[in-house]
Symmetry: C2
Subunit: 375 residues, 2 copies
């Protein structure tokens, strides 16, 4: 929320500009696009389904028709006016592309899961000309061969592939990096606070709370994964930096990852131990670092950083008045620097069901738009 309050001046001399209607006039009945949602009953999936009818507000855009929903156990089939729900069988997912193609209409599959293996299906769908839209990071941050195969399939199939919600949810990070790459401009540096969870934990640490309590607080607010050690590992942040680097055309850069607590320590914890209890062991060490930094008017936070040569994800000290200090809640901040020393700074909510579902819907409408303008 901006804190700017605006006062009108005392000597008004108004001239009026008139904006105009315009967006709301359809030229021709737009075609329909069939949509299948994987993970339709999850948080993002159900928020997406709830938003699907909003797109009818913009009649120049193609209509979106939900045809299938697939979750871990159930298979939702939407016919013309009829809805049929059945148990999922082994062919449900593997036959999805063929079923959509049989409809003869342009189609988009939305992967609303965080499943690590589902992206292996993307190449097959894309090659067949089916669009893929997803907030799932795994296809874009993992195995380089899978990533290459996904990108090539999208080009071969001339199929839209949109994954802007993988970094910063609704913030225009991926698009900005893609535009720079297409214009032949390589970022000189990228600095990114892209974990709302870790920003929250470090803001609490700086306020004097012990690590274990800061993590407990984040878990209590629903900011963490079921096991907070997953957040503290920094792997999610590293995935986002890999996606940003690939998008910027800097795929050859290796990313170093330093977790908040050592991986070896976390791995050695007995299975039945309470994570928060175990973390007390790390309270004193972090307390000392925080106090030491404060003496220099500095604070610790958790950043992804590419400095033009190397890329690193981990805890860092920043000046107390840095824009990267004290980020609250789901706040993300991404700064993309040019060789001329100028930076595009993007700041806003980078996580949360609502902003993610809105970003996925925008990606979906964009994909549908591309598929229908093709013909």
């Amino acid at each position: 929320m901006t804190t700017t309050r605006i006062h009108s001046t005392r000597t008004p001399a108004f001239v009026e500009f008139q904006a105009s209607p315009g967006h709301r006039r359809p030229v021709a009945a737009p075609s329909n696009v069939d949509v299948a949602v994987i993970g339709h009953s999850g948080q993002v999936g159900s928020a997406l389904l709830a938003r699907l009818d909003r797109t009818t507000e913009a009649p120049e855009l193609p209509g979106l028709q939900l045809r299938e929903g697939i979750n871990r156990s159930r298979h939702l089939l939407v016919g013309d006016g009829s809805v049929n729900q059945q148990d999922r069988n082994p062919g449900t997912l593997s036959g999805l592309g063929a079923r959509l193609l049989a409809g003869g209409r342009p189609a988009v599959i939305v992967d609303c899961t965080a499943d690590a293996t589902l992206p292996r299906h993307y190449p097959e769908w894309l090659r067949a000309g089916i669009g893929v839209v997803t907030p799932n990071k795994h296809g874009f941050s993992g195995d380089p061969e899978l990533y290459r195969s996904i990108m090539q399939a999208a080009r071969k199939g001339r199929a839209p592939l949109n994954y802007s919600a993988t970094v910063g949810a609704g913030l225009p990070v991926i698009d900005t990096l893609k535009r720079l790459r297409r214009a032949g401009v390589k970022p000189a540096a990228i600095t990114a606070a892209v974990s709302g969870t870790l920003s929250h934990v470090f803001t609490r640490l700086s306020a004097g709370q012990p690590l274990s309590e800061a993590v407990a607080d984040a878990r209590h607010r629903g900011f963490t994964e079921p096991d907070p050690l997953e957040d503290l590992s920094g792997r999610d942040v590293a995935r986002k930096l890999v996606i940003m680097l690939r998008e910027a055309g800097l795929s050859q850069v290796r990313v170093e990852l330093e977790p908040v607590v050592p991986d070896a320590w976390a791995a050695a914890l007995p299975g039945q131990v309470d994570t928060i209890e175990a973390l007390r062991e790390k309270d004193a060490g972090w307390r000392e670092k925080i106090v030491e930094a404060q003496r220099d008017e500095r604070v610790w936070t958790y950043l992804a950083r590419f400095d033009g040569r190397t890329a690193r994800v981990g805890p860092v000290e920043v000046s107390r008045d840095s824009a990267f200090a004290g980020l609250a809640g789901s706040g993300n901040r991404i700064s993309i620097e040019s060789a001329e020393g100028e930076a595009i700074d993007i700041h806003g909510p980078g996580a949360g069901v609502d902003v993610t579902a809105t970003a996925v819907l925008a990606d979906l409408v964009d994909a549908a738009f591309l598929l229908t303008r093709k013909g």
Copy 2:
């Protein structure tokens, strides 16, 4: 430039993530797209021409082939390896669409001028399927009928129409608003500092400089139009707000415009008077406002603001520690608030030949990409 300095921690425990190659592998020889640039010898136009070869760095993208350049007096024709420069004749511009269509290849016309009448040609080009890319605000901020006609022609001709550089140059403002509109989300408020010139002038005013000297300084640095009264009129800022509102699906909102000095006063100045000299008359009035604001720890700046109901462009007082206070040089800042009170903040260089040319090139590559994936 971000001011964050990053210190590495003392107990590194690195794991390495490997990004991968991927963007640089062409699947098939991409098609070529013919490009005509109007205003090719102007600042943005020549910077664009200098950048055109950079796009060859990304071989999965279509090649861009400059075919024509047109300025006020000359006509540049680029054949296969041959360049022919001749005087412009009355048919040069009106025959442009037909000449491009005769080539039989996908084509894009880039309008690098700030000409108010040129956009009247866009509908004819777009209807014929020729893409239009431009940083020229006039087609999108002026006559509602022309605007509607341009948007409809783009849909009818299925032709790409990209004008992201009209607001904030390379900042992702237009795209962010378009994505929200497509997802059915209306911004609850927009606050925008989109005149580097006026931000600079007001920063100097707050530092104690008289208005006339602040404007002289901005002119000296090349930040102003030939006549600085054009900047002080706020019309350019109002145009940008109209574009943002239309993009957000808020075309019905009227924009009130208050200039820095009254229009009637400016219009009554004798033709031969020096603008800076004349502005001295306004120094005392602005000095008084600045001092009065400072007593309340506030500063004046010049903003475009939509508050959910009304839209206004003009001088405003903001808190001294507001992010909108003290913007320097070409710095723009745009804040798009949601109904939930969250804001997407975008900050960075919003003017200048380099960032504008880069944004126009990104728009051009995007248009070429759309035209070639159609076939």
